[in-house]
């Protein structure tokens, strides 16, 4: 085993041993703080809302399945459209991609 490998293994071991008590204590504190965190509300107060915010809030409150379907479809459609538009801009700038050779 080379000296370089022995030194790097020793260094890594020291770092790990030193972090154990710190991480353990941190985790205990984190769990205690998580228990104190307040529960999230599952309905939205629509009194002060209007426009698109009101539509989204109503859907969220009344039909969660429809809300989930809408979120998933909107993200898929928007992701595709934006990627297409960005691709067009990049092509116009000359940054077109084709099959590449895989160099290491």
């Amino acid at each position: 085993m080379s000296l370089k490998r022995i030194l790097s293994t020793a260094l890594l071991s020291i770092v790990l041993v030193c972090t154990i008590p710190v991480v353990d204590q941190a985790a205990r504190t984190a769990i205690a703080s998580e228990k104190q965190e307040t529960a999230l509300s599952m309905t939205i107060d629509t009194k002060k809302l209007s426009g698109i915010n009101l539509v989204i809030a109503r859907m969220y409150n009344e039909d969660r399945v429809l809300y989930a379907a809408m979120v998933t479809i909107v993200m898929a459609v928007l992701g595709t459209v934006l990627a297409f538009l960005t691709d067009l801009v990049l092509k116009a700038l000359g940054l077109e991609v084709s099959r590449i050779s895989h160099r290491e």
Partner: protein, 350 residues
């Protein structure tokens, strides 16, 4: 800047739209370039700036799903996706993920699970970055020193390269053997591939993370996939896990759609730029940048843990600065390298 503040009805908070676009752009570039979801950057970033943790995770998953579509398509165009390997990775990862989450449930009954999970997370970050740094500086010393093929110049027979972990795993002959022509792998035991992905899936389930940053190095170092194909194939898995995450979190009411929508504008543009940059940076360059990013993310986690022990908010602030600083710096490096590579290509064409 208050002009850009918008009200997010589901999360019930006001948030700066420009900040959302910036976070989205950074994670898009990093996701497209490294083939990871980037949840370990977006979730803490949203949380630091005021999102409740549950909304931060759900909104991030919705964004990951949207941004991965375009980036996966671009990697496919570049021939960076091994669909066969990717499909096997999804199936085996799901089994591993289920196993990991079951272990978490068992340990929860026994008592203090949080400390074990966090300890493993930090251990994994340090271990992965150390392995990748070691690999870069030990296997590529000539390239690092700018000496190329010295043995050829001196008329000597080139030294036989040392067998990698992947080479050793390929030699294990447990039928059925399978080949991955797209990745240049002639023969490997299906059981070895399944075991590797089940293990990475197990870690994802155990740590509660998407797992892109675990799968990408596993593809490179354990299966022996070229780095750019590892990036594309991993991104394909991220796309499917993101779609599932988006649906399940929005069913639970934990996706802030307006925030995800705005973040996706930056993320989609960033993902296309990140995926294109893979064309201009060699495999080892990607590995080095990935190792640097993991190392800084590990520092941020360590600072966050110190904050939880001491209660000193300065550490939490420092953790946020390190995390966002790493994301912004890495994004800049990738964009600059892309521009430099493009300029070089244009000069060569002339």
């Amino acid at each position: 800047m208050d002009f850009f503040n918008i009200y997010l009805p589901v999360a019930g908070i006001e948030f700066n739209a420009l900040l959302l676009v910036l976070i989205g752009f950074c994670v898009g570039v990093l996701g497209g370039f490294f083939g990871v979801g980037g949840g370990w950057i977006v979730t803490p970033a949203l949380n630091i700036f005021g999102f409740h943790m549950a909304f931060a995770i759900g909104t991030d998953l919705a964004n990951i799903f949207g941004q991965s579509i375009g980036a996966t398509k671009k990697h496919h165009k570049m021939g960076n996706i091994d669909w066969k390997l990717g499909t096997i990775s999804i199936v085996a990862s799901i089994a591993g993920l289920e196993g990991g989450s079951q272990v978490v449930l068992l340990l929860e009954k026994a008592g203090d699970i949080g400390s074990i999970v966090r300890w493993c997370y930090l251990f994994l970050m340090i271990g992965l970055s150390s392995l990748m740094f070691y690999d870069y500086f030990s296997r590529n010393p000539k390239k690092a020193a700018g000496i190329h093929d010295q043995s050829k110049l001196a008329g000597q027979i080139p030294q036989r390269e040392k067998a990698t972990i992947a080479d050793r795993l390929h030699r294990i002959n447990i039928p059925p053997m399978i080949s991955f022509p797209d990745s240049g792998i002639k023969s490997v035991s299906l059981w070895i591939v399944l075991a590797i992905f089940a293990f990475t899936g197990f870690l994802s389930g155990f740590l509660g993370v998407g797992g892109g940053f675990i799968r990408m190095p596993a593809l490179v170092y354990l299966i022996g996939v070229p780095t750019s194909i590892a990036v594309g194939t991993d991104l394909m898995s991220v796309l499917f896990s993101g779609a599932y995450g988006c649906l399940t979190y929005s069913l639970k009411g934990r996706v802030e759609i307006i925030a995800a929508f705005i973040m996706l504008i930056g993320a989609s543009i960033g993902a296309q730029i990140g995926a294109t940059a893979v064309k201009y940076i060699k495999g080892y360059g990607i590995r080095l940048l990935f190792a640097l990013m993991i190392a800084f993310a590990g520092c941020s986690i360590a600072l966050e843990q110190i904050y939880k022990i001491t209660g000193n908010e300065a550490y939490q602030g420092a953790a946020g600065i390190v995390l966002m600083g790493t994301a912004v710096t890495m994004t800049l490096i990738i964009v600059i390298r892309l521009m430099a590579g493009f300029r070089r290509e244009q000069i060569m064409k002339m």
